[in-house]
């Protein structure tokens, strides 16, 4: 899989070695302009290393990284690349507003405009009243939201977010998801996360990394709809015969009911028919058999795709 030379972020043959450990072994990746790109994989696969190399924090042992066609540190990249780093701490003893104003100043804002810009981005993440606070006075969730805010300073073309939702309470997580969705399309996002439902909901493209290599890199719908299956999560235990009418359909190759994580799922595999059309007919069939369902998924979930790929 060779990365295209076009794209907001392009990696070619990137290797990274930490002593005896080969963290990345020849990564080729192309993140399309304007996409929301998910980076997923199991622990130790090289996700954080890859993210850090794209961000310019780590130096690749070999290979080439280009962001908007430029290497890290290029003057043309100033203010166009923004990063939410994982586990980065602000300097103690200095109010957050002042530290973020330094970020804004380095992005080109004047000394008069920088504080205003800081307040604007803090307001985007619901942290407008935190400008005068010191970093050690913030909870984990608040610190995360401040860190996300700093990544939105100015008008970056590429925003890299490492675990943007982790550690947030449900309301905060929803607010950040909505914020990212609102900004999607205006800029290119790269999101590295363990949270598959979030990545699936937010991202238009995804790459799966395993043992330091990209094993899948596709549009999200190509990945999740590669298998033509419709999965119903059932509300109650159905009669054993429920799968039979599905199997009887000409365009169904298999149908089975099985427990998955304390829920019952009816999985129907479709041949020679679009799954949207098939799903509509399956719903009618379920209603005819008085079976209720609480979840419907067309195609495989990202989680299943990742488990399969890794």
């Amino acid at each position: 899989m060779r990365a295209s030379s076009e794209g907001a972020v392009v990696l070619e043959g990137v290797h990274k070695r930490f002593g005896a450990v080969q963290a990345l072994a020849g990564v080729d990746l192309a993140i399309p302009q304007g996409s929301c790109f998910g980076l997923v994989g199991p622990n130790g696969a090289g996700k954080t290393t890859l993210f850090s190399i794209i961000s310019g924090f780590l130096r690749p042992s070999a290979g080439r990284v280009r962001v908007l066609g430029h290497p890290h540190g290029a003057e043309d990249l100033r203010g166009r690349l923004a990063v939410l780093p994982q586990d980065a701490s602000w300097r103690k003893g200095i109010p957050l507003g002042r530290q973020m104003a330094l970020c804004a100043r380095l992005q080109g804002f004047s000394s008069a405009d920088a504080p205003r810009e800081v307040l604007r981005v803090l307001a985007l993440t619901g942290m407008a009243d935190c400008a005068g606070r010191h970093p050690d006075k913030l909870s984990h969730g608040m610190a995360k939201r401040v860190a996300i805010a700093q990544a939105l300073i100015g008008d970056p073309a590429v925003v890299l977010l490492d675990e943007p939702i982790s550690g947030l309470d449900p309301a905060q997580a929803r607010a950040i998801r909505l914020l990212i969705q609102g900004e999607s399309g205006k800029r290119t996002f790269l999101i590295s996360s363990h949270d598959m439902p979030d990545i699936e909901a937010l991202c238009s493209h995804v790459a799966i990394i395993k043992a330091g290599r990209i094993v899948e890199q596709r549009r999200m719908d190509e990945l999740t709809r590669r298998e033509a299956v419709v999965v119903f999560t059932l509300a109650e235990v159905p009669s054993e015969a429920l799968a039979a009418p599905f199997r009887a359909l000409a365009y169904v190759s298999a149908a089975e009911i099985r427990p998955v994580e304390r829920k019952l799922q009816l999985t129907v595999r479709v041949d020679q028919k679009g799954i949207d059309e098939a799903a509509a007919e399956f719903i009618k069939l379920l209603m005819e058999h008085k079976a209720t369902f609480v979840g419907l998924q067309k195609g495989t979930s990202l989680e299943d795709a990742v488990l399969k790929a890794t």
Binding site: S52, S55, R91
Partner: protein
């Protein structure tokens, strides 16, 4: 690896403000302040002796002490004359006292230019916004501005002390010596702050940075200084750091002053170049 003057100015101004509130900055201020007050009080206490030295008319007891000093420090008559008669002896003694201790204070003030930011990964908030070279140089300049402010204050205090106590030199010479005193200490600080910039980016930890910097200082002193007593050849190691040249900056011959001044710039370029190179190459 581009250098941006605007970024340098922003980073230096920010670092200057931070140092006036930071632990290392306050510690260095406290050390230098206390030491300076002590040195000035001692000079004031021995004002009559220093005035005698300046006039060349020493009592028998003072002549004996000076003879012992010449023998111990291996100083010649011409050097002593330059020391106490060609310069204001008050400025000279204060310079020697401050120049003796100031490397340690400078290194304390400069130990955390990037170290905490690397260990806490806070530097990652800045890396997408400026170059590594700008970060190293900008913070170096900020630290230098901070330390220069303290040295200028020390220079003003030394000059005012000398003006009020010196009975044998005119005000113009005392002020000139005061300026020279300040400039010499500033020149000495350039490589020391650069050395700590290097230690900070190599270790990425304020504690290790301090250990490495002060360890180098003590190690070189032991090897070149004490070792030099055992074997002359070991003296060469003391020139790994600029400390042996510090007194030349003010009380050497013009040629020695020039050599020491150029050497300070060379040491600075080497340490700062090494810091920038490591920052460019390492993971942050």
């Amino acid at each position: 690896m581009t250098l941006n003057p605007r970024d340098l100015k922003i980073l230096a101004a920010y670092e200057l403000r931070v140092l006036f509130r930071s632990g290392p900055g306050m510690l260095a201020l406290l050390f230098l302040g206390m030491y300076g007050v002590w040195a000035i009080s001692k000079v004031a206490e021995y004002a009559s002796t220093l005035n005698s030295l300046a006039s060349g008319s020493l009592s028998q007891e003072e002549s004996f002490v000076m003879g012992a000093v010449r023998w111990l420090a291996d100083l010649d008559e011409a050097f002593l004359q330059r020391l106490f008669q060609d310069h204001s002896p008050f400025i000279t003694v204060l310079f020697m006292a401050v120049a003796f201790a100031t490397p340690l204070f400078t290194m304390v003030a400069a130990l955390d230019q990037n170290a905490t930011d690397i260990s806490g990964k806070g530097i990652r908030f800045l890396l997408p916004r400026t170059t590594r070279l700008n970060l190293v140089l900008g913070r170096y300049l900020g630290t230098l501005a901070f330390w220069s402010t303290l040295l200028v204050l020390m220079g003003v205090a030394a000059t005012l002390t000398a003006l009020s106590l010196d009975e044998h030199h005119g005000a113009a010479l005392v002020v000139f010596d005061g300026l020279w005193f300040t400039a010499a200490l500033l020149l000495l600080s350039l490589p020391l702050i650069a050395l700590m910039a290097f230690c900070g980016v190599v270790t990425g930890s304020p504690l290790l940075s301090a250990t490495m910097g002060l360890g180098a200082y003590l190690g070189v002193w032991l090897l070149g200084g004490l070792g030099g007593w055992i074997h002359d050849g070991l003296k060469v190691f003391s020139y790994l750091l600029p400390m042996p040249l510090r007194y030349d900056l003010m009380i050497g011959t013009p040629a020695q002053v020039a050599v020491a001044g150029v050497a300070m710039l060379v040491y600075t370029a080497v340490f700062l170049g090494a810091a920038a190179w490591v920052a460019q190459k390492r993971d942050l």
